[in-house]
């Protein structure tokens, strides 16, 4: 969806986003104003460079907004991954496709943080890059390399020296992803 979103958010768009992502009306308008303030220039999409206070994963997260240039819908879709999973959602009319903030989709998002070349595998180098980002200067490359090797070894079940998405899910099955990857969006 490379088209420019209009600068004013139309009702039907809000409805669409609401259905797709599950955010509430007020949350959507709030996030829209945030989106426009982040926008460099009046283009209706986020530029590649976003000046946000640094978290090491910041760039990665930005990159993971799937395309090069993001419009509001994409923005919301990505943010929807971080919505907390609510019990009542499960009981309502079962959605046709899995909601964006389901556990699998959250894990998929996390997986994509590593897997930059989108080949559905986390190779040793990609893992190394993420590790390097999260670590200070104290650890040498060799040591990081061993950590990366060890990590892959723990997770890799089919012996291809990469972590596929299935292996990723399996290894993290005990982790409480719902809690760790959710933030409360203000109403």
């Amino acid at each position: 969806m490379g088209s420019r979103a209009s600068t004013l958010l139309r009702e039907e768009e809000i409805e669409e986003i609401k259905k797709e992502t599950g955010f509430s009306h007020s949350q959507i308008t709030r996030l829209y104003s945030r989106f426009t303030s982040l926008d460099k220039g009046e283009n209706g999409f986020l530029g590649r460079i976003i000046k946000i206070p640094e978290s090491p994963m910041c760039r990665r997260v930005v990159v993971s907004f799937r395309e090069d240039q993001v419009n509001f819908k994409g923005f919301m879709r990505t943010l929807a991954h971080f919505r907390p999973i609510e019990d009542n959602e499960k009981n309502k009319n079962p959605p046709t496709s899995e909601p964006l903030n389901s556990r699998t989709n959250k894990l998929l998002f996390a997986f994509r943080l590593y897997d930059l070349d989108r080949d559905d595998k986390i190779s040793r180098d990609e893992l190394l890059q993420v590790l390097r980002m999260m670590v200070g200067v104290n650890i040498s490359d060799d040591q990081l390399g061993s950590i990366a090797d060890r990590t892959i070894q723990e997770a890799d079940t089919n012996g291809d020296n990469c972590i596929s998405f299935q292996e990723f899910i399996k290894v993290l099955e005990k982790v409480d992803v719902e809690q760790k990857m959710s933030i409360r969006f203000l109403h």
Partner: protein, 772 residues
């Protein structure tokens, strides 16, 4: 069982001795005068007595020590019977033991000479328990759930106190309790002392029931924080009672509310200050490592006493002291000191807890305090339970609307049921002023009954209840490496998303910059600061794990060299002791630290098989020849292992009370060691790549050839030989060189600050042939 039977007899014997001594004492006192004169006469005539029975001389400390011994023996006996302790928590059994002992003393003396006095309890028994809780507190979990904990601690406790007091008063008015002389204010005072959930009881009961951590931290955190409220309520109502009902007006009430804030925050502040003090001190104690741990205890205790002196909340103070300093002292202090602190705190805390419960039991066997009023007691019990549940449900319902992960109903039931009262309530009850509160004994009796009910009955039924309700239990497994990494990734990603979406959430605070920049700079030693990176700790643990695995592997597989020279086996130990002990004392000593790490890692690591580390020489004997690849691994590992073994021995020789230095020429020694290891790594690596070279392990442990220099120093002579590792070795190879390499880096980290740079040097690959 016979041994336990003997122990029981011993305990009985000891207690009888006690009673005997008591009565003797009394008799001696009365005879004292005559004896005195008699002595003076006698000494003139008989001369120097060879031996005399000087009981009075040692009485106070002797009795104390004896009681401590008896309590610990009781715990020993109780713990020996696991089939009982699975059903009945140890605290309940200790109380019963206390009953028994109290009965015996009562029988001997007709008077309860030993009681749990408030002074002893509040000054000597309680502080270490709280210090231990603070020091061992999972900070991240605590602060994540801080909101809920605070709400329960403050509002919940006030609610408990108010409702209990008012309901009892209402029932009194309604005539359910007969004729007792207690006014509304005294009821409120009574309510306030019974309102607080007790940390000692909670630990004692919950430790056997491993509930999930959120539930545990909610109850436990509440039990610790509510001391702030309890102290205030108790003092305020006590003051009201002494002022009399007429003097209470709005001003006093406002003062009461203000005093709450002052007490709570003041106490926390005192604790915080002391925590900072401890952290700062440990930054400079490099030269007195032998008594470094002492600072923790002394300053922790001072934190308690200072807060008590300023009439602030002492429990809050010592708790925050422990919580605040834990991170910094763990990084600043030497690993051994950290272990010492941890172990010693556990000893003191556990010991205190044992003594407290035994004395709670003993204090009950005292006819003078028992006043039985059925209505009062039963109603108190009933109200306590009911209002606790109501309070928990209402508050949690309110909280759940703001929590990310709501607390389930089942967890709430356990939270309500876990509202145990304990020794703190009893201590406060005994502190009541009997001139103003005529029915003090009734209150004491009721408090005791409540405490017994909660600890014994609720303690016993807690585990079945948890199982019946299928409460989510604590996860006992260690996180795998990828889970740890992934958690970190999640945290960072969340921070990023929060920034992007403009939210400020939990993770804002977790962003390390403030803490890293200021506090760490101030409070950590420079070397410790470098180690701060969490992934480095992961790395460190990884090394330990590898080292341990190596050792276990070796234990299981043995060493080829031994097999080659069966005769030499027996002498191996001796031989290497002699040869290498003089040659490289410092390396050995160094490795002693490593072995210490490893052994403690073993102790702490529940999931491993728990094999004892080095009794390897013996086990290495029984092995089969497996092949080249194993020889290499085994060689590597047994090289390591050999170091471990010797390191420990070396330590013993160097022990001295005042001087604890072990790393004399540490840099040189480490460097040499490192270079060697690295050189092996290089050859290993190249071996991996080429697939034909032999992983480089030296045949340095050939016991038949006498050597003067340990061969791993002589890396100049090493050669590479083209021996193809087998398929299996190739699979295993990838993580082996890494191990050694990591081990070398691990070696240097605690002391020299420039650990890791050395890891980057590239040495020419060198290796040596594995001879067969």
């Amino acid at each position: 069982m016979s041994r336990c039977g003997n122990l029981r007899l011993w305990i009985l014997g000891l207690v009888l001795l006690l009673c005997f001594i008591q009565s003797e004492e009394r008799r001696l006192k009365s005879d004292h005068h005559e004896h005195n004169e008699g002595h003076s006469n006698m000494s003139a005539s008989t001369g120097v007595p060879i031996v005399s029975f000087k009981w009075h001389h040692v009485e106070p400390p002797y009795l104390i020590a004896l009681w401590v011994l008896v309590s610990f023996l009781g715990k020993l006996v109780i713990e020996a019977n696991h089939h009982v302790t699975t059903y009945i928590p140890e605290s309940a059994l200790l109380i019963c033991l206390g009953f028994l002992l109290g009965g015996m003393i009562w029988g001997a003396d007709k008077v309860q000479t030993f009681k749990l006095t408030p002074t002893v309890f509040f000054f000597y028994l309680l502080p270490q328990i709280i210090l231990d809780s603070g020091y061992a507190m999972p900070n991240k979990l605590f602060f994540t759930n801080m909101g809920g904990i605070l709400i329960h601690a403050i509002i919940g406790t006030c609610w408990n106190a108010a409702t209990l007091g008012l309901s009892l008063w209402g029932c009194h008015k309604g005539g359910a309790m007969g004729d007792i002389d207690i006014g509304l204010l005294q009821y409120l005072l009574f309510g306030s002392l019974l309102a607080a959930v007790d940390p000692v009881a909670v630990i004692a009961v919950f430790e056997q029931v491993h509930v999930n951590e959120v539930l545990f931290i909610m109850v436990f955190g509440e039990s610790l924080l509510n001391d702030g409220v309890t102290v205030v309520l108790f003092n305020v109502f006590d003051a009201f009672v002494s002022l009399g009902g007429g003097a209470i007006d709005a001003k006093e009430i406002v003062k009461g509310i203000i005093s709450f804030f002052v007490v709570a925050f003041g106490g926390s502040l005192v604790g915080f200050v002391f925590g900072l003090l401890i952290s700062l001190l440990t930054r400079c104690t490099k030269n007195i490592q032998i008594i470094e741990p002492g600072f923790i205890f002394v300053l922790g205790y001072l934190a308690y006493l200072t807060a008590e002196m300023l009439s602030l909340s002492a429990i809050l103070s010592v708790m925050f002291c422990g919580m605040c300093c834990q991170k910094y002292i763990n990084s600043n202090m030497d690993e051994r000191s950290v272990q010492t602190v941890r172990s010693a705190l556990k000893v003191f805390a556990n010991g205190s807890e044992t003594i407290i419960f035994v004395f709670l039991g003993i204090s009950a066997i005292d006819k003078s305090i028992w006043v039985w009023n059925t209505g009062f007691i039963l109603l108190t019990l009933f109200f306590i339970l009911v209002y606790r549940f109501i309070g928990v449900f209402v508050l949690t319902w309110m909280m759940n609307r703001f929590r990310l992960v709501p607390i389930s109903l089942v967890d709430q039931v356990i939270m309500g049921y876990g509202g145990l009262r304990g020794a703190v309530a009893y201590g406060l009850a005994v502190l009541l002023d009997e001139t103003r509160i005529k029915e003090k004994n009734l209150m004491i009796s009721t408090t005791l009954i409540v405490v017994y009910f909660t600890v014994i009955f609720q303690g016993i039924t807690m585990k079945p209840l948890v199982q019946w309700l299928k409460v989510k239990r604590a996860a006992l497994v260690e996180l795998s490496l990828i889970e740890k990494v992934q958690n970190k990734v999640f945290d960072h990603a969340l921070i990023a998303i929060e920034d992007i979406s403009g939210q400020i959430g939990h993770n804002y605070m977790r962003d390390k910059n403030f803490e890293e920049k200021w506090m760490s700079w101030f409070l950590l030693k420079s070397s410790a600061r470098k180690k701060q990176d969490r992934l480095f700790n992961v790395f460190h643990e990884l090394n330990l794990q590898d080292a341990m695995e190596y050792v276990t592997e070796g234990e299981r597989r043995g060493s080829l060299d031994f097999i080659r020279n069966e005769n030499a086996f027996v002498d191996f130990k001796k031989k290497f002791d002699e040869d290498f002990a003089e040659a490289m004392p410092d390396i050995m000593a160094d490795m002693g630290v490593l072995s210490f790490f490893i052994m403690n890692a073993r102790v702490l690591n529940v999931n491993k098989e728990g094999d004892p580390v080095p009794s390897v020489s013996l086990e290495m004997h029984e092995q089969n020849l497996r092949g080249l690849r194993q020889a290499e691994e085994i060689n590597a590992h047994h090289l390591l292992e050999q170091h471990l073994y010797k390191g420990r021995k070396q330590h013993r020789h160097k022990f001295s009370r005042s001087h604890f230095s072990i790393n004399q020429d540490e840099n040189e020694v480490q460097e040499i060691f490192q270079r060697t290891m690295r050189s092996r790594l290089e050859s290993f690596k190249s071996g991996k790549m080429a697939g034909i070279e032999n992983p480089a392990f030296m045949p340095d442990v050939d016991p038949s050839s006498p050597m003067h220099i340990p061969p791993w120093l002589a890396d100049a002579e090493l050669e590479v030989s083209p021996v193809a590792p087998s398929q299996r070795a190739q699979v295993r190879l990838p993580w082996m060189p890494g191990h050694l390499h990591r081990l070398s880096s691990l070696r240097t980290s605690p002391r020299s600050g420039d650990s890791v740079q050395e890891g980057d040097e590239q040495l020419p690959p060198s290796g040596s042939r594995q001879t067969f």
